[in-house]
Amino acid sequence: MKKNSPIAKLITFTVNGKEFTRYVIQSMLLIDLIRDELGLTGTKTGCLEGECGACSVLLNGAAINSCLFLAINVEGHEITTIEGFSTGEKMDEVQTAMIQNGAVQCGFCSSGMAVSIKSMQTRSRNESRIPTRHEIQKGLEGNLCRCTGYIKIIEAAGEILNK
């Protein structure tokens, strides 16, 4: 796609700290931009209908389902995917907490879980308030996991949010 057209639009956005300017087809989903155009396959396609949360990414620090979000709407915004969590050798504390708490089994939901926990962490810091266990559970409701029974994920989130 070379220029603005009824179906494509030139947009500028940031992914994992790096600025991109791209022509994007108006009907393209954010998940397809992330996975197919940018090759960031750590974001997973679980259901494409906003039910499972495997495709969660951060939009300006808050978790969204990238399968329900049109790519053109990221213009001027900042996206963080799981690949943006770790810099070089150093992992983000959310990732470390998930590993150390045994919160990762098959791992297919893990990127989305990490994104949701990060989103809660940011919100909790902004509001200077530690969420209760019940609120953590509610905060993870949008992310399905078939392996872990969620307990170790809730524990990892609790560890991060109580810091």
Partner: protein, 771 residues
């Protein structure tokens, strides 16, 4: 050495170890089937039937004309053998469809979008007929034959597989019975809900004539053989590369038509072809747990001892057969051998219908059998007027017992597990009973389970091969036949090796994904990997250690029996001198006669094949567990809240407490879903809820308190005493929930899931009776 002493000395085993593959999975670097992109790759899509039962003719000419479409196939374009162990399943259907999953055409195109568009251009002329959706209808003499491909097995019309098992004198035990109960239990279809949908990337090379399959199979070597049979090619020309698997739970035990379809498209186009299901397709076209109707009669003598059990089971097989039709192997164990019972008769029929077919699912029939049996035990206790816990305790399995079916329990923690959950569930841990409004009722339910814990000798070999290699720098590579599906087998293997050789886990690699590289293994199922692959690894390491110790004894000028492995060194306990393992490896490698530090070992469990009457000690060890569940029932809405699940399980020995509790918690929640929320609803062959919105998988908000108490019986057959454990936590949960609900509302639900509708209905009927 006593167990206590042995445990004291263990440095790695028994300590919590995060999964060694967690890092790549949590950073987005793991390559799942969805993430594979090969050069010049095409995207495949499958056209499935619009009707559960119909004749049809098909015209693909318009689809072929679409720009970007490279290949379109129908049954007329392929020369394949039928698949499934009954060989009753054509890969592409011709002229007639028998269930909603039926594949009638497939395309390969330059993009996913073009492939989907091409499917819409295929013209199909259907002539729908009256399908048979009830297995009891299919058993009637006037019913038509549903699956025309099954060779006559002599088992009866529309029966894919029949099992008949008996032990003891049923008539005599019936006479001895003080009380007998007889009930029908109905079990739903549920599905795996793997977060990663089914996927395959097939890559045929016209130059080498070899086929590489990037697959999520749980059984790579059986898959290789099945694929070769289907495609009429040589198994050795097929290389199976297992991608990172996004959930298995039994769903990847069979090969399904989409896999050979991708292979055929690749062979025809000489380009890689990828097929990935979307979520709706996953719900419709991946296998389910068996829906079934179970008629159970059981008796008890005046002292509360079980006398007999009789089970008659009709399983909805669906239109084709998968390994799931053999789940009665496991179900009959529960009826014949869970709690001591002098007589048992078990009969099951997997019956063809025009419904979607069932497959294998964690627990393999056992959650169904355990629900029916444990409900029956509660009913017997109520009828005899005996305590439900007491009745379970006096009939519990015991060490040294050989069951009527010939299962021998060299170790058995059944009674201990029961005592543990009975005792612990007395504690007040939660909201149990705190709401004293009349609206809320509280109840406690119990259930046990028995499952294989040392493999299952069903296939001609239940073994696993391992190759270990110590390199010149003291790093170990384990090449194992076994498969990682997220359950943590790589980590447990690395821990075992680390314990044995004193090499840190960071210096151990596990290679397990390529049939061209790894030694044979029957596959990941039957909770067998820790036990079988663990023993196989220990066998290989023990050979490696002999080689190392011989050389070390030369270097240290001492005898071999005084040498131990400690801190990456081989040390003489007497002389107090030592040599680095890596130095020993280099001495072996670089001095005459030159050798590498590599060893192979194949482990076959000591278990036996069952005879034609299904008798024999089929596993190397048996896992036992008991669960107690506390529930709150809202009598206004019928809603069940599972408050606490107490789990005590005989795991032989705790190897990795972190991995173990992960399996327990995941299994229990899957069991809670089976108990209260999950059902794939099917009406006249059509699936009504093929999405996560209407198929109720539980979320983080639904998690009960799970209290886990591992029981260590140190089985001499297991690696460091461990048994298989990963299916077990799911098996008794739904049964215990149903018993807890019955305890709360004083009325019983005879089917799963225990939904608000069923509870309100049961409450209403109870009130009518009392008025």
């Amino acid at each position: 050495m006593s167990n206590e002493k042995m445990t004291e000395k263990l440095k790695v085993i028994g300590k919590p170890q995060p999964k060694i593959d967690a890092g790549i999975r949590i950073t987005g670097k793991a390559v799942y089937g969805q993430d594979i992109k090969l050069p010049y790759m095409l995207y495949g899509a499958i056209l499935r039937s619009e009707h559960p039962y119909s004749g049809f003719s098909i015209d693909v000419s318009e689809a072929k004309k679409l720009e970007g479409v490279v290949c379109v196939i129908t049954a007329d374009d392929v020369d394949c053998n039928n698949i499934s162990y009954r060989k009753d399943h054509p890969i592409l259907k011709k002229g007639e469809v028998n269930c909603l999953r039926d594949e009638i055409a497939a395309v390969a195109a330059e993009s996913k979008e073009i492939a989907v568009q091409a499917l819409k251009l295929i013209k199909v002329n259907y002539k729908p007929g009256h399908g048979i959706y009830d297995p009891f209808e299919a058993l009637k003499p006037e019913a038509r034959i549903i699956n025309k491909y099954l060779k006559d097995t002599g088992q009866g019309k529309n029966i894919s597989h029949k099992f008949l098992y008996e032990h003891g004198n049923l008539d005599e035990e019936k006479r001895k019975s003080k009380e007998i109960v007889s009930n029908r239990f109905v079990l739903p279809r549920v599905t795996h809900c793997c977060l990663a949908t089914s996927n395959i990337t097939a890559d045929f090379s016209p130059v080498t004539k070899r086929l590489t399959l990037y697959s999520s199979t749980q059984v790579p070597f059986l898959y290789q053989r099945d694929m070769a049979h289907a495609l009429k090619i040589n198994p050795s020309d097929i290389r199976v590369v297992q991608v990172v698997i996004g959930g298995g739970f039994g769903s990847k035990l069979d090969m399904y038509p989409f896999e050979p379809i991708a292979a055929i498209l690749s062979m025809k186009t000489c380009r890689p072809v990828q097929i990935i299901f979307d979520r709706e397709e996953e719900f419709i076209a991946s296998p389910t747990r068996q829906a079934m109707v179970m008629d159970i009669e059981a008796g008890i003598d005046k002292n509360g001892r079980f006398t007999f059990r009789e089970a008659n089971i009709v399983i909805d097989n669906g239109a084709y057969t998968s390994w799931g039709a053999t789940t009665p192997f496991v179900m009959m164990q529960t009826f014949s051998s869970l709690y001591h019972v002098p007589a048992c008769r078990f009969e099951s029929k997997a019956v063809y219908t025009n419904n979607v077919y069932a497959g294998s699912f964690r627990g393999y029939g056992n959650p169904q059998a355990t629900f029916a049996l444990e409900s029956t035990i509660d009913l017997l206790a109520e009828k005899l007027g005996m305590s439900k816990t007491e009745m379970r305790l006096i009939n519990a399995n015991f060490k040294g017992e050989t069951s009527g079916q010939g299962l021998t329990y060299y170790t058995c923690g059944h009674k201990e597990a029961l005592e543990m959950v009975i005792d612990k569930s007395k504690n007040q841990n939660s909201e149990f009973g705190i709401r004293n409004e009349k609206r809320f009722l509280f109840g406690t339910g119990y259930a046990s389970m028995l499952h294989v814990g040392g493999g299952a000798k069903i296939y001609r070999s239940d073994g696993c091969g391992t190759r270990v290699n110590l390199d010149d720098y003291g790093h170990l590579t384990i090449i194992t036949g076994s498969t990682e599906i997220g359950q943590g087998s790589e980590t447990v293997l690395a821990m075992l090796a680390s314990e044995e050789l004193s090499i840190p886990i960071s210096k151990i690699k596990v290679i397990n994904t390529d049939t061209d590289v790894k030694p044979w293994d029957v596959g990941v199922h039957a909770s067998r990997t820790t036990f079988v692959a663990g023993n196989s690894l220990l066998g290989a390491i023990s050979k490696l250690k002999i080689k190392l110790i011989k050389k070390a004894a030369e270097i240290l000028q001492c005898t071999i029996d005084e040498l131990i492995f400690v801190n990456e060194e081989i040390k003489s306990e007497h002389k107090n001198n030592s040599v680095r393992i890596e130095k020993v490896v280099r001495e072996i490698h670089f001095s005459q006669p030159n050798e590498l530090c590599t060893e192979n070992f194949f482990y076959e469990p000591s278990s036996e094949f069952q005879d034609k009457d299904y008798k024999g000690n089929v596993s190397g060890a048996y896992a036992f567990a008991a669960q107690a569940v506390k529930v709150e029932v809202d009598t206004y809405t019928g809603n069940v809240k599972v408050l606490d699940v107490y789990v005590a399980q005989d795991v032989g020995k705790v190897l990795n407490p972190m991995g173990l509790t992960g399996q327990i918690e995941g299994g229990v929640l899957m069991g809670v879903g089976y108990g209260i929320s999950e059902e794939l609803m099917v009406e006249n062959g059509r699936i009504l809820n093929p999405n996560f919105h209407n198929y109720k998988m539980l979320t983080a908000s639904d998690v009960p308190n799970i209290h886990f108490y591992p029981i260590e019986t140190n089985d001499s057959q297991g690696p460091y005493g461990a048994k298989g454990m990963a299916e077990a936590p799911l098996i008794p949960t739904a049964a215990a929930i149903a018993n807890a609900v019955a305890d709360a509302i004083q009325a019983r639900i005879y089917s799963l899931p225990v939904t608000p509708e069923k509870i309100l209905k049961a409450l209403k009927e109870k009130n009518i009776k009392h008025k």
